[in-house]
């Protein structure tokens, strides 16, 4: 069991080194980010004393992933496996527990630790035995699989948009529209295996153009369900709604290009920083997009010779 945890530490070190980050600085940065994030939740969110442990338990819940647990069960004796899972869950819960304790939520801190140990008894069931229909099957794969993975979130965003219309709260409506684009942007957060780029008989420019076209078309299609009623009930604010769609579309273009900016490896720290800066301050995207585009084209040319 000790070796297992050492191994996890080595894996973390290696992944930080691969990203070009000194492991000690990386872990230090992670700790500072955790404290900053926790402080932000307690400052900005109502009922943070309940939301915060819910976030912790949700993260710990992911340790129950089916395949990972099947592997662990196959290599460790049952008693060791159970001990390992409890210890692993507690290790993840303790930082949250300390923060809750520090904030004076003693009972909730204790409950978080206890519940996290109990969560070690639970493994996710794996995938359901049915296929979710996707309206995007003509041009796989990002929207096809992304829609299936996030359709509940998309429904939630639609619900938020309709609540905004009901309560005449345009800001909430615009926020839901942006959330929808951010969900779509997430479809492009994964790095393609080389095969899925190589297999295209297209030049790098055409390949990227097609990817951007599909992303813009499908994201616009999804946004219509929010934007049409929003415009209908806020006719005077059409300009603002269209501007939000434009910013969302810029996000999409950036997201698609960013996938290939350092292909076939993950984005560098500086590229990730540029991407996040652009998402936070949209005008920055006007500088980021051309820069990313030229880098992505040169990366893609290696695998797409025409």
């Amino acid at each position: 069991m000790k070796y297992y945890f050492k191994l996890q530490y080595w894996r973390l070190r290696r992944s930080l080194i691969n990203l070009g980050i000194n492991p000690y600085i990386g872990i230090g940065f992670y700790l500072i980010s955790f404290i900053g994030f926790s402080a932000l939740i307690f400052k900005k969110i109502s009922f943070s004393g309940y939301v915060y442990p819910a976030i912790a338990l949700f993260l710990i819940y992911t340790f129950g992933e089916k395949d990972r647990n099947l592997f662990l069960k196959s290599i460790f004796p049952p008693v060791v496996y159970r001990r390992l899972r409890i210890f692993e869950n507690l290790m993840a819960a303790v930082p949250f527990g300390i923060f809750l304790f520090f904030k004076g939520y003693y009972l909730i801190a204790l409950l978080t630790l206890i519940l996290s140990s109990f969560l070690s008894l639970y493994n996710t069931a794996g995938r359901p035995g049915f296929q979710i229909p996707s309206p995007f099957s003509k041009y796989p794969y990002e929207f096809t699989v992304g829609f299936r993975a996030t359709w509940l979130f998309i429904l939630a965003v639609y619900a938020l948009a309709f609540i905004s219309i009901y309560y005449h709260n345009l800001n909430l409506g615009l926020f839901s529209l942006l959330c929808l684009y951010l969900i779509c942007l997430n479809f492009y957060s994964h790095l393609d295996p080389i095969f899925y780029v190589w297999v295209h008989a297209q030049s790098a420019k055409i390949f990227l153009k097609n990817k951007i076209r599909v992303a813009l078309l499908y994201s616009f299609f999804l946004s219509l369900i929010i934007s049409i009623p929003l415009i209908f009930f806020n006719l005077a604010e059409t300009g603002m709604i269209l501007l939000t769609i434009f910013i969302g579309s810029l996000y999409m273009v950036t997201g698609v290009i960013a996938t290939y900016v350092n292909f076939p490896i993950e984005k560098s720290v500086s590229q990730s920083f540029q991407l996040f800066s652009g998402i936070l301050i949209p005008p920055v995207l006007l500088f980021v997009i051309p820069n990313f585009y030229s880098q992505a084209i040169s990366r893609l040319k290696v695998y797409l010779k025409c």
Partner: protein, 227 residues
């Protein structure tokens, strides 16, 4: 004709391929055998253009990459993508228009199910179907028989024979020597980064004998059990 001249490949300081030479004519099936880690997959990736390499890969039929169907040892499938959508993706990638993909489901796969949930053999069959739908001229198949059932093994052999008769170029690897014997016109033994032996059909036994000589050190098992 597909010609590989003096192909070399290194990963960091480890030299995997040290100047491989091969010539494959249209309508020929070439097999590559070798131990695990001999460099078969690396060789195939280099020929396909999936990896950088030193040396030359020449093809007189157009842009090789755009006419090549590459079957990896373990094809990757995205989660939440059905078999049908995988085939659609491969057709879109090569701008091949197929009216009804399900008509070409030659292995009878459940195309409406997520490809990720298929068994190893089913995934391989799906990947092969995709390569056929793309109407490729060159087929680079890494372990096509791996994980498939006996009847599918026979179907794959039939497919290879059909492709051969259609003048397609095929290069493949397999650890199933008898399957290679059944379908290959030439067999190449890759060892220490070089093609050590290349033989035409009828004399494959020499390669089998050579490989048997270098069999695993079974005596180590005795040491494990006797402590």
């Amino acid at each position: 004709m597909l010609t590989v001249k003096n192909l070399s490949k290194s990963y960091e300081n480890h030299r995997i391929l040290k100047g491989v030479n091969l010539s494959i004519c249209k309508g020929e099936v070439h097999g590559v055998v070798g131990e695990n880690g001999a460099g078969k997959t690396t060789l195939f990736k280099c020929i396909s253009g999936l990896e950088y390499y030193e040396g030359e890969v020449a093809y007189d039929g157009g842009i090789l990459k755009n006419e090549t169907g590459y079957l990896p040892t373990a094809p990757h499938f995205f989660s939440n993508m059905t078999g049908y959508e995988y085939l659609q993706l491969l057709c879109n990638a090569r701008s091949v228009r197929v009216k009804d993909i399900t008509e070409f489901n030659l292995f009878g796969l459940p195309l409406d199910q997520y490809a990720e949930t298929y068994s190893t053999g089913m995934q391989k069959k799906l990947a092969i179907t995709g390569l056929l739908l793309q109407k490729n001229e060159v087929f680079i198949l890494d372990e096509p028989f791996n994980g498939v059932d006996i009847s599918s093994n026979m179907i794959i052999k039939e497919i290879l024979m059909k492709l051969k008769s259609l003048d397609k170029t095929i290069i493949m690897s397999s650890h199933d020597f008898s399957s290679l014997q059944d379908v290959c016109d030439f067999l190449h033994y890759l060892k220490d980064g070089l093609i050590k032996i290349s033989l035409p059909r009828g004399s494959f036994d020499q390669i089998e004998n050579e490989m048997k000589k270098e069999g695993p050190a079974v005596h180590i098992i005795d040491s494990i059990y006797t402590g």
